[in-house]
């Protein structure tokens, strides 16, 4: 953000704008960029999702709109969704029904503020960035519960209840998997965590030691559960709950759920990139000119892996879901935390 404010200052000429105004301009610009990134990832990833699903099921996927392999399909989809009638069910709790998509959307938008895409390119370089991201994304659960309850529909309520139970449970292994990284980096600041991984692929936290690698896998699996995707898509199981908590939503309100879902998908991948995969660090010589592209490429690869998993694996049962979380992932994450600590004491020389 400092770079953005500096850019504004240079355009307007030094000293012509007050520091307060510059701060506001910088913050607004960064917020706009983040919102555009969110919209862009919804557009790109819906197309990618449908293409990958097509390839996995031996068909083409969208081919018609926009000449080349249906590249304009998501834009057509968006136009269609915006034209849909906005329906609020007669028995719904109107205020919460309207409020819920915004709570959900704000929760995922706020978390973007602390993601470091490149050196210096982070909207808010917070001391406790990692903690802040978890705190902001915990608002998503409230949005899900509100939407399910306000719809006054049994499928929505079941979907919301499942969603809340699942997200609250999987937040624990997710957070525990990140703790060893904080231990190694000695900081909760996202930029510090990425900087600690610079200087070769073996510096990436996922590859530092076997425990951290397992932590990375736990984080990755738990993050799939956090964004409610197959094999953990119990909150929106089509075959049982119609569409789960957003069954009653249509038009623009549904678009908000949709947008937040894909933004969250990309968000958890960005966190994994920054925390475990070295952020903008890379082993290729001559690629230093575009750190943000390296970062985005890694995150997109993780998203593609999540799409691949979604279209390959069947869905878990509710009891299996809870079993995996509480009896497998959490103990394993604790073992990894202890193991990383011991490894650090044994093999890492303190400066």
């Amino acid at each position: 953000m400092e770079q953005v404010t500096a850019l504004f200052a240079r355009i307007a000429g030094a000293g012509t704008l007050s520091p307060q105004l510059l701060l506001w301009l910088g913050a607004l610009t960064m917020a706009l960029i983040m919102a555009l990134v969110m919209a862009a990832c919804a557009i790109v990833f819906t197309w990618a999702e449908r293409k990958v699903a097509g390839f996995i099921q031996s068909r083409y996927g969208p081919m018609r709109v926009g000449r080349w392999h249906g590249i304009a399909q998501p834009i057509a989809d968006m136009l269609k969704i915006l034209q849909k009638e906005d329906i609020i069910p007669a028995d719904a709790d109107r205020k919460f029904f309207i409020l819920a998509p915004f709570v959900l959307f704000i929760g995922s938008l706020m978390a973007w503020a602390a993601i470091p895409f490149a050196p210096g390119f982070v909207a808010a370089d917070l001391d406790m960035g990692l903690l802040y991201i978890f705190a902001a994304s915990s608002l998503v659960t409230i949005g899900i519960l509100m939407s399910g309850w306000a719809s006054n529909n049994k499928w929505s309520l079941y979907g919301a209840a499942r969603g809340a139970a699942q997200i609250v449970s999987y937040e624990i292994p997710l957070a525990l998997a990140v703790v060893p990284v904080v231990l190694y980096a000695g900081s909760l600041n996202m930029t510090d965590i990425v900087v600690a991984q610079q200087g070769g692929i073996w510096k990436w936290f996922a590859l530092r030691n076997p425990f951290l690698f397992v932590s990375f896998l736990i984080y990755f699996l738990a993050s799939i559960a956090e964004v409610n995707r197959t094999p953990f898509d119990l909150p929106e199981t089509e075959s049982e709950l119609v569409a789960g908590y957003h069954t009653e939503y249509s038009g623009m309100r549904f678009a908000f759920f949709f947008l937040a879902e894909y933004a969250n998908l990309f968000l958890v991948s960005c966190i994994a990139t920054a925390v475990f995969l070295g952020g903008w660090g890379h082993p290729v010589p001559g690629l230093n000119f575009a750190p943000a592209l390296v970062f985005l490429a890694k995150a997109v690869l993780l998203v593609l892996a999540q799409i691949w998993i979604r279209w390959t694996l069947p869905r878990l049962r509710v009891d299996q879901l809870m079993h995996v979380c509480w009896k497998v992932m959490i103990p394993l994450a604790l073992v990894c935390l202890a193991g990383s600590g011991v490894w650090m004491l044994a093999f890492v020389r303190f400066a």
Partner: protein, 170 residues
């Protein structure tokens, strides 16, 4: 200037949230207003240079505890609830008087301190950061910290055993 605007905004909205929490008709609305109040409380903490506390306020209270509250309320009441919860009991006036007395008392104390010049104390550098809270919790108050975790463990086991006994009876 800007900071005091933020402070009064967050403080006022927090008060509004608190009042609406007790004044709302439906339990779910109360819970959502309480979340609103907690978020504004986090804003006040952040302005008082306690960022760690602010983030924990959102993470633990708004994000985890209130989610459980909402979950339980929704499970117990099912669809939209319309009963009026505001029936006056004979405890209404005492229940109103107690917090008012507490507010008046703390206001008098704070004003007295402000006149004495001991307030507001400037926060030292690095105040309220994770490192400092960790140093306090894991060094100075280690025993209390560990004891609290044992108390919480006992509470979990107690809740589990009560719940299991209930389940067996039916």
């Amino acid at each position: 200037m800007f900071e005091s605007v933020c402070f009064y905004l967050c403080g006022g909205l927090m008060l509004l949230g608190g009042i609406m929490t007790v004044a709302s008709r439906s339990a779910v609305a109360s819970a959502v207003w309480l979340i609103f109040a907690f978020l504004n409380a986090a804003g006040v903490y952040a302005l008082l240079s306690a960022p760690f506390l602010a983030i924990l306020q959102v993470l633990v209270y708004a994000g985890a505890i209130m989610v459980l509250f909402l979950f339980v309320i929704m499970m117990l009441h099912g669809p939209v609830m319309n009963e009026d919860l505001r029936s006056r009991s004979r405890w209404f006036w005492p229940a109103l008087a107690l917090p008012l007395a507490a507010i008046a008392g703390s206001a008098v104390t704070l004003l007295g301190r402000a006149r004495g010049g001991a307030f507001p104390a400037p926060a030292p550098h690095g105040f309220g950061r994770a490192e400092q809270v960790a140093a306090l919790l894991l060094d100075r108050y280690l025993l209390a910290f560990e004891l609290i975790s044992i108390v919480l463990l006992v509470a979990i086991i107690g809740a589990l055993s009560l719940g299991l006994r209930e389940g067996r009876r039916t």
